[in-house]
Amino acid sequence: MTTDVAAPAPRTEPFAFTGSGRDYFPIWLTNVVFSVATLGIYSAWAKARRLRYFYRHTRLAGAGFDYHGRPAALLKGRVVAVALFGLYSLAGYVSPWLTLASVAGLATVLPWLAARSFRFRCRNTSHRGVRFNFNGSMRSAYGGFLGLPALALVSLGLMVPFWHHRLKRYQHGHSAYGRSAFGFFGDADPFYAIYFSASLLTIGLGIALVVGLGLAGSLVTLALTGSANPTRVEPGSAAWVIVFSLAIVGYLAVITAVQAFLAARIGRHVWAHTTLGRTRFVWRIEAPRLFVIRLTNLLLTVVTLGLYRPFAQVRLARYLTEAFVVVGAGGLDAFEALPAGDVGAYGDEAMEFLDFDIGF
């Protein structure tokens, strides 16, 4: 007689988000007030506080994530970013050659900065006291952030999906949680399929927008002025304001829809092909829902002159977080058995002088 020993069913563990807009509002407001009052210097502290808030409210299996980035390091990143950007914009006033030189200079340092920033972000994130890590090489950073974008430009955008794939492979393939390395085994083909659909979506929505605006414009002018020719509308008149607002909202809706489609599809694909040891990930993010959240967030933020922003951030974070599910391969202890060693291996001593977050 044999006994079938059923393999333990994979256990799924959803992420939870416990922050609330109401709780976050005063924190956000303080961040804004102090950042403006200190001409932006406080924004480094603000960022650390914001990330700490969102990371700690992101919870998996009863434990929160944590952010350890120090404001001083963030400030250093901001100073570098402002200096680079200032140099670039001032160069334009002096001579076109200087602009060219500064673009070349930027292109040379940006891959390095990007890789450093990503490593900073990983090393300063922890869960259950175990830090994440990133060990992507500088060589691939230059290939990924300098070589491929140049190729993408030369190929008139045909290389963009390929570049996006390489970028994700670089990020997901070289990250680690404690001692366990993440793995990424997705192909570039689906990126091409997703980008192709996104182009079709853009064209379709663009046509719909133009037709819809034309119709709406005629209707509004007909209703308000008695003539159905929207080109004869006086700027500043009620009909003009309505049509103009419709055009802006419609344009934002199209942009947001395409962005949401890309983010959801790429995100789902990337996480479906990412591993951590025997752990798998499922990101159940849906483009239509993401689109609705982002568009209403944007419009409400504008209508409330920015006061809705903290609520918008929390709302988006809640959706993105709670759509995320971790699937453990082996029974109940899968998550507790995630690498426990190496606690703080990348602790303070790793925060060397050149570590900073430029915040792309």
Binding site: T18, G19, S20, D23, Y24, P26, I27, L29, T30, V33, F34, V36, A37, G40, W45, R49, R52, Y53, R56, H57, R59, A63, G64, D66, S89, Y93, V94, S95, G129, E234, P235, G236, I248, Y251, L252, I255, L298, T301, V302, G306, R309, V343, G344
Partner: protein, 315 residues
């Protein structure tokens, strides 16, 4: 979890710990964010949930800080927002124009001439054609222009008057930061006397003399920087709208300044300022005939022509 005689006692199914409270590091509170206790041996304990956090706040209230002070009461936040908004309005209305004027006055001339020359080159490529005015007419206007006595404002750019034809721009005149003044054939044709033309030219010289070109560029840069910094991550499209409105207000101020300058120059030269107003009136009539609707006042880079005419005649 409890504290007895300064000792933190942690007890659950798996762990049991007793630590002197003074040796436990607790981070500062941040809203209802879970707080983390760090023990001397590197172990950590996360405290989450409203009840537990309230208890912890009693035991470890955290260091007093400006942010904690502001976050504690709603009225402090309201007061801070009011204060900040007033400061921002002040920075926009007073501080930025003042700073831009100070910087523009100190920028080397090479910067202004470089910007001016490059602008003229690109305008020539995009909207201008060579002038078709008879040379005698050009010479007449130039002579009238050189005979004008300008107020002695010290360090002035060398004024260069040039003529261009433009199908796209129609009757118009421009001042570039380096002192180049461009007037279109259509505007010359529209004028019934040299006195009228001198009004427009004096207005443009007012732009040069006030360094409006450079000041405008600097002010726009500040506006762009602040708006992008605060709204850039919301939406680039949305950010462009307030930028446009803020820039337009600065531009209208320059136009009024240049109008006042023109009136002063005309008066100094014994020309009635009404001549300038007459030309503006005819310009506006031409626009009305073409049925080119003017943008609403808050969007416009120029004050309403009727207001300008009234200001010139009334001065």
């Amino acid at each position: 979890m409890a504290v007895r005689d300064g000792v933190l006692i942690l007890r659950s199914d798996e762990v049991s710990r007793r630590e002197p409270l003074a040796a436990v590091q607790v981070d500062d509170p941040l809203g209802a964010t879970p707080r983390i206790l760090r023990f001397t041996d590197g172990a950590t304990c996360e405290v989450a949930g409203t009840g537990a956090l309230r208890w912890l706040a009693g035991v470890a209230p955290g260091r007093p800080s400006a942010s904690a002070w502001l976050e504690a009461r709603a009225w402090r936040q309201v007061a801070a927002v009011i204060l900040l908004s007033s400061a921002l309005v002040g920075a926009y209305v007073v501080l930025t124009p003042w700073l831009a004027a100070v910087v523009a006055a100190r920028l080397p001339r090479a910067v202004a001439s470089s910007i001016g020359q490059r602008t003229l080159v690109s305008l020539d490529a995009l909207v201008f054609q060579p002038s078709t005015l008879p040379p005698a007419r050009q010479a007449g206007i130039l002579r009238a222009f050189w005979n004008v006595r300008w107020p002695d404002d010290g360090d002035r750019f060398d004024l260069v008057l040039t003529f261009r034809h433009s199908d796209r721009l129609g009757a118009n005149a421009f001042a570039l930061p380096d002192g180049t003044i461009v007037i279109t054939d259509a505007l010359v044709d529209l004028a019934r006397s040299d006195a009228e033309l001198l009004g427009v030219l004096a207005h443009e010289v007012g732009h040069v003399d006030g360094r409006h070109g450079l000041r405008g560029l600097l002010q726009q840069s500040v506006v762009a920087m602040v708006v992008t910094w605060s709204l850039g991550d919301v939406s680039a499209v949305m950010a462009s709208v307030p930028m446009m409105l803020l820039d337009a207000r600065y531009s209208r101020a320059f136009e009024r300044e240049a109008d006042a300058y023109a009136v002063r120059v005309l008066r100094d030269n014994g020309i009635p300022p009404g001549a300038f107003a007459d030309l503006l009136e005819r310009l506006q009539a031409g626009r009305d005939r073409a049925d080119a609707a003017a943008p609403p006042a808050y969007l416009s880079t120029h004050p309403a022509t009727a207001d300008r005419i009234e200001a010139i005649r009334g001065s």
